[in-house]
Amino acid sequence: MTTNSPSEKRLEELREQAWKEGVVPGKGVDVAGGPIPRKPGYYGQPVVKPPVWTWQVPLYFFMGGIAGMSAVIASGAIIFHHVDLARAAMWLAAIAGAILSPILLIMDLGRPQLFLNMLRVFKHRSAMSMGAWILSAFGACAVPGLIALELHAHQILPGTLDQLLRLAAGVFIFGSAIFGTLLATYTGVLIGATAIPAWFLHRTLLPIHFGTAGLGSAAAVLELLGYRIPALNFLGFYAAGVESALLIWLSVDKHGVADRAIHEHGSGWLIRIGEVLNGPLALILRFFGLVPFAAISFLIGALVSRVGWIAVGKVSGSDPESVFAAERY
């Protein structure tokens, strides 16, 4: 821009007029450099903020899924008199759900010393608040359920008391199963009800994926612990079958730019690898009777896809074009 360009002259005029009259009603000059940018987003700056969550969160999703669905398996085992399996499943539920999960969640907080504030209010419209209460209720059922079951199994107390113990074990274990199903699925609601486009566009798929991956993972861990029974094999088939269907759903239900984080970039690869491992590959391995390999494949797939979904959130949230494109859905 030169000193005697038309816009510079106009600015001189404006200054003179403003000096004399105090106000300038006419048009000014167009700001140098061209028109208002037409590309969406302020020069690529994110529109929404990507999640600040670190590695603890996908690992918690994985642990919570195993814990919650272990309690469901324990309940089924109790009803059909597989006491040893029920004991192992309740140990798994208590360790993963009442110890590891809270530790991971507290580690991820920005101010971990204030973790008890999670139970300060009860807000049904906040999936995070509901999750905190679900996890607490789960722990409050799973731990006494496990203790009662172990005491009953070892026949420590005499007759009548043992009958009471048996009743308590049943009530607490069924309670932990109910809260367990919610513990394994609410995490899908948690990330589905956000402003991150690739997440909220798949809010129906996410709870199905997280819950079913939890059920399959719980069965897989129990199988790897030595409980090679047909019931767990059936659950392995069920979970891998549902996950295979979800893989197809995900590859059909595309939203173009809006959810490209699922199909492109490293995050897309994590989703794909995870879904193949806990879907078709686990299914095929199980079909050929390679149960331990199917179990390992499912577990790795379940973990990788949880990491993948958090990665998807980071990529999708940083992508302004996705946010604008998602408004059409």
């Binding site: 009603p25 609601v189 402003a195 659950l235 949230g317």
Partner: protein
């Protein structure tokens, strides 16, 4: 709060919080590159001012009750209550709220524009509106500001700025905002979502799916033990 893009001749404005002219050196380099491209570089503004939504995503998402609605209609984070869970960060449709980074006091907790709650309680206007030398940022009653904004839009359009418009989404699930903008061009250029939605509208379908999965898992487990033992 009313922010006017056109008043910022040369776009030199920098508010004490929120409103900032982008001055990242990397952006300056891309500015040189872009100036020669088809779409030449142009400073507009990127505002991180909290919009204080009528239906606020962060407030709904907060599990601790740390985020509250104040008597002046603003949305406020109570620093002493927030435990930094980070759920508000992904629940804000405008990408405003974030975790406070490390060197700051109360690091790890959520933070955003407070609408100068402390100043407003003392009868003062927010600091950004107070210091703005071009009066681009105006504070007042929403009705008055909306009328003033509409008048300015008309004035600007008559002076040849045909792309002047108010950014004030009221028809979406956020049901209106307390900080709106007069912009030239489209909201997307300012990183403003044309139709911001509060994420709670997604809860119903997500929970339905969760409950269905829960029931399906219980049935599958019962079937497994009943028929495959």
């Amino acid at each position: 709060m009313f922010l006017e893009q056109d008043r910022q001749k040369g776009n030199q404005i920098t508010g004490p919080m929120g409103l900032r002219a982008e001055s990242d050196p990397k952006s300056d380099m891309s500015a040189v590159g872009l100036a020669e491209a088809e779409d030449p570089f142009r400073w507009v503004f990127l505002s991180d001012v909290c919009k204080h939504c009528e239906e606020a995503g962060c407030l709904e998402a907060c599990p601790t009750g740390s985020i509250v609605r104040t008597e002046v209609g603003s949305v406020l984070v109570q620093n002493d209550v927030c435990n930094g869970c980070g759920y508000c960060v992904v629940s804000c449709p405008f990408g405003v709220i974030d975790r406070r980074p490390a060197p700051l006091v109360d690091a790890g907790g959520a933070f955003k524009c407070t609408f100068c709650y402390d100043r407003q309680k003392s009868g003062l206007v927010p600091a950004c509106a107070k210091v703005c030398p071009t009066e681009s940022i105006v504070f007042g009653r929403l009705d008055d500001l909306r009328a003033r904004g509409a008048e300015r839009v008309q004035q600007l359009q008559e002076s040849g700025y045909s792309d002047a418009q108010l950014y004030d989404p009221t028809e979406t699930s956020v049901r209106g905002i307390h900080a709106f903008f007069l912009i030239l061009g489209e909201p997307e250029a300012y990183g403003l979502p044309p139709k911001p939605q509060v994420p709670t509208i997604y809860l119903k379908s997500a929970w339905t799916s969760a409950f269905a999965t829960a029931i399906a898992s219980i049935i599958a487990t019962l079937v497994a033990f009943a028929f495959f033992s």
